[in-house]
């Protein structure tokens, strides 16, 4: 395991991508994620966060460059094998078919023949839905829906998680619980996580953040180094600042914006 620590799990090399002919959405990006890394992906709307996660998960195929999962092209894996290593949670959860909660969470086991990680019940417990296993997804509130799919991700138990705005629609409690849970997974099992998010106050709790703009990486590093007034101004075109208090707490100051 100690060796694995040095080897990147996921590596993007000179990756570019466009949806429509003319415009590059991802523009020559390179970076790598190691074991137990937990990266917050920040950037303006339309900067390419979701696209980057989709590329990393192998749903989209880069126009140039390559994406490696454990030293092999992510596209070269048999799908089941890849699903055991890597899991992607999409941003939009528009499901109109009335699956039951437990059916959906159980789908996390699909890549496996023998359930290897936590059970469906444990996952439901972890996201606070143990009382609603038989509810139809179409009858849940949006935060509850989001949690169903987080539970599915937990059941799938891959080594690298690509989460596209998992905090959206979650209430503060489950934001905190999810963050704790992910940190625990990272610490105990060395799971690597990349998570797109918009809440800079939460990003401040991360060890590492990556800031992107128009498909290019502005910087990667600790929140202290990256979420500076200048970089934020560059990425979002807005004047905000991170305020740090003596004993460790940090928060965003919206300054004169309101």
């Amino acid at each position: 395991m100690s060796l694995a620590f040095d080897r990147p799990i996921l590596e993007l090399k000179d990756v570019s991508f466009s949806y429509l002919r003319d415009k590059k959405i991802i523009d020559n990006i390179s970076f790598s994620v190691g074991n137990g890394e937990f990266i917050g992906l920040l950037g303006a709307n339309g900067s390419g966060k979701s696209t980057m996660l989709k590329l990393s998960s192998g749903i989209l195929r880069p126009s140039t460059g390559e994406i490696k999962l454990w030293d092999k092209d992510v596209l070269s894996y048999p799908n089941k094998d890849r699903a055991k290593l890597l899991c992607y949670l999409p941003q939009l959860l528009d499901i109109n078919v009335p699956f039951k909660v437990k059916e959906l969470v159980g789908m996390g086991l699909y890549p496996y023949d023998i359930p290897p990680h936590i059970t469906v019940d444990e996952a439901l417990e972890a996201v606070g839905l143990s009382e609603k296993p038989d509810s139809y997804i179409t009858n849940l509130s949006s935060g509850e829906r989001r949690r169903v799919f987080i539970a599915m991700t937990l059941v799938q138990g891959a080594g690298i998680l690509l989460l596209d705005e998992p905090f959206a629609n979650l209430d503060i409690r489950y934001q905190i619980e999810l963050l704790k849970l992910l940190k625990e997974l990272k610490d105990k099992k060395g799971i690597a996580i990349i998570m797109a998010l918009h809440d800079i106050n939460i990003a401040l709790k991360f060890e590492k953040v990556m800031l992107i703009k128009e498909g290019r990486i502005l910087g990667t590093g600790s929140p202290d180094a990256i979420l500076t007034r200048e970089m934020l101004k560059d990425a979002f075109d807005v004047g905000i600042e991170v305020v740090r208090r003596e004993y460790g707490e940090a928060y965003i100051s919206y300054e004169n914006n309101f």
Binding site: K54, K80, A83, Y88, E103
Partner: protein, 321 residues
């Protein structure tokens, strides 16, 4: 729970199967059979019942698959034009009087037509290395219209006798069932069923959307392709065995969804068993109710099935797909 439902349905299916064998237009007492009874039982009823079950299973399962793959509650096995293609090519054979394969001619040409159309729909549904639901659906509808109207054109410029025959074939007919075709049908339909049941997890995932299906370890294009193939095998074989029989492929999956939920792992087998049992029952009724005339089973399926479906629809609060 779903185990119980499957078992109950299986029992019902077996009862229907036996009734179709021994009741029929006139009752055969299995313990006192004369030569004629034996003849009727073994060379007429038995193959017919088997064909009914096979065709019903194929249609029920195909419908469940297509509604999922195309994510559309209106999809049925015939929506992609497979049946109009099959009918067209069978009608060509009928009208032109080609009879080089003897009694295999019609089923064979129908199956060839079905396969050709499946390939064509696949080609039109293909883009950037895979099949896309909206494309499949629209391409299927377009091709279906095309073949159907070419068939109608043929019929309207051919002699009246030909018209009547071709129309009857399109209505669906199980009366020609004999042992000779069953092995072929069995091979195609059983392999289709096996593929689709083994792919039912993938179908669940595809219903959630491509991104989820990918993340859950399915090659979306491969799975969609496999499901499409299994559907084409079953539908093609069923059309060549029994013509075009409505209702089952579209509404049996909905009825099963009302009864047992949306999970494809349960839905596909239930739709298959339900479809088989139901077609068998409809055929039994169709040939018994106005003896010696036979009412095509496609008509009976809809006449009994639709009221039940409408009743379920009124009762249920949650609708699926």
């Amino acid at each position: 729970m779903s185990k119980i439902k499957i078992t109950v349905l299986m029992l019902v299916a077996i009862i229907i199967f036996l009734s179709a064998l021994f009741i029929g237009p006139r009752i055969i007492n299995p313990f006192r059979m004369g030569d004629m009874e034996k003849e009727i039982l073994f060379s007429i009823r038995f193959p017919r019942v088997v064909v009914a079950i096979l065709v019903g299973m194929a249609l029920g399962a195909s419908g469940a698959i297509l509604q999922g793959v195309l994510r559309n509650p209106l999809a049925d096995p015939y929506i992609l034009g497979i049946s109009s293609g099959a009918s067209l090519s069978a009608a060509f054979a009928l009208l032109s009087g080609i009879y080089s394969f003897g009694r295999f001619t019609i089923p064979l040409t129908a199956f060839l037509g079905a396969s050709a159309v499946s390939v064509l729909v696949g080609v039109f549904g293909w883009r950037r290395g895979g099949l896309w639901p909206e494309r499949l659906l629209l391409a299927g509808v377009g091709l279906s219209f095309l073949f159907h109207s070419v068939l109608m054109l043929l019929m309207s410029i051919s002699t009246d006798e030909g018209l009547r025959r071709a129309v009857l074939w399109i209505f669906g007919d199980l009366s020609m069932a004999d042992w000779s075709l069953i092995p072929y049908g069995l091979v195609f339909i059983v392999s289709g069923l096996i593929i689709s049941v083994s792919r039912s997890k993938a179908l669940n995932a595809l219903i959630l959307g491509d991104e989820f299906a990918h993340s859950l370890g399915f090659s979306i294009h491969k799975e969609r392709f496999m499901l499409f193939i299994s559907m084409a095998l079953m539908t093609g074989a069923s059309v060549s065995l029994g013509g075009t029989i409505g209702f089952i492929g579209l509404l049996i999956p909905h009825i099963m969804r009302f009864v047992a939920g949306a999970d494809s792992r349960v839905l596909i087998p239930l739709s298959a068993i339900g479809g088989g049992a139901f077609l068998c029952l409809a055929d039994l009724i169709g040939k018994s109710i106005m003896t010696p005339m036979e009412i095509p089973s496609g008509i009976i399926t809809a006449i009994i099935g639709s009221p039940y479906f409408l009743y379920l629809l009124r009762r249920k609060d949650v609708l699926s797909i």
